[in-house]
């Protein structure tokens, strides 16, 4: 059996939390684009794809920045993994909700 070593869980927590932040951002911008025409137009980064190009690019950039920030904060730390995990699941759930048509179409369009 492998010898148990003390695990510094900061980098894992940073990666997991950032994925939740990225998911939440995607849901948030999907709903915002539906609700606010100005946001929808601003997210049209690439015309053949339309606002989807902006929503996904913003989500990926926010995800990577959040990951870098939390990694630099937690790389040598032991964090409360359960709290981070619950926060991540809540953000993923909100991200899923924000990308669900029945939900975001309630905000217009």
């Amino acid at each position: 059996m492998a010898k148990k070593e003390t695990l510094n869980n900061g980098p894992a927590a940073a990666a997991i939390l950032a994925s939740g932040i990225g998911s939440l951002t995607l849901g948030l911008f999907t709903t915002l684009a539906q609700a606010v025409t100005l946001v929808n137009d601003a997210l049209n980064f690439y015309d053949p794809v339309g606002p989807l190009s902006g929503k996904t690019t913003v989500a990926v950039v926010v995800w990577l920045v959040a990951w870098a920030v939390f990694y630099s904060l937690w790389r040598n730390q032991q964090v409360n993994f359960t709290k981070v995990y619950i926060a991540t699941l809540i953000m993923i759930a909100l991200g899923l909700l924000g990308t669900f048509p029945t939900f975001f179409e309630a905000f217009g369009g």
Partner: protein, 176 residues
């Protein structure tokens, strides 16, 4: 027996990458599930770890390739605006919206698919990173391993929703 360029990319996006994605998910999830010190020896953990790393990274890479080809190659053909008088059958989005009994395929199916799919590579990459960062130490970290299994499954389900609607929509209004 030929495929147009559009049909070729639709097959690559949906079937080619999707099939590898499915295989990688199975390998990755089985690897995460069985990476337990009470079940396997040190040698066993190392052997499973190679498969686990391969499974999670292949799934993450396939997820990125699928959403990128889908969004930037296939989707523009789907949403292209038809010129006046054009045959709508060559413009799937417009064709679906012009038929009241088919419009929900776009309004619900495509709208959900095009957004939810992007959750998959983000979640799968987080899992793949943690697997390669911690390696065999994960065997002793039940909480982290369980979190990874759930995120990995959510990544698969997000891609599954997208894949399922993609298959149905391509049946109702194929990209030609």
């Amino acid at each position: 027996m030929t495929l147009t360029e559009r049909e070729f990319w639709t097959v690559i996006h949906g079937m080619g990458l999707g099939t590898i994605f499915l295989l990688a998910f199975s390998g990755g999830l089985a690897g995460l599930w069985s990476l337990r010190p009470e079940w396997v020896t040190v040698a066993g953990i190392q052997e499973r770890l190679h498969r686990l790393i391969a499974g999670t990274w292949i799934m993450a890479i396939m997820a990125w390739l699928t959403v990128i080809t889908g969004t930037y190659i296939v989707y523009p053909w789907y949403r292209a605006k038809p010129p006046t008088g054009a045959d709508l059958i060559r413009f799937p989005r417009s064709y679906l919206l012009a038929n009241p009994h088919l419009a929900e395929w776009h309004k619900f199916g495509m709208e959900w698919k095009e957004h939810v799919a992007w959750l998959s590579p983000i979640l799968a990459t987080a899992v793949a990173y943690v697997v390669i960062r911690y390696g065999s130490k994960l065997a002793h970290e039940q909480k982290i391993r369980q979190a990874l299994m759930l995120l990995f499954t959510l990544a698969f389900l997000a891609a599954g929703v997208a894949g399922l609607f993609g298959a149905f929509i391509n049946k109702v209004a194929p990209i030609r």
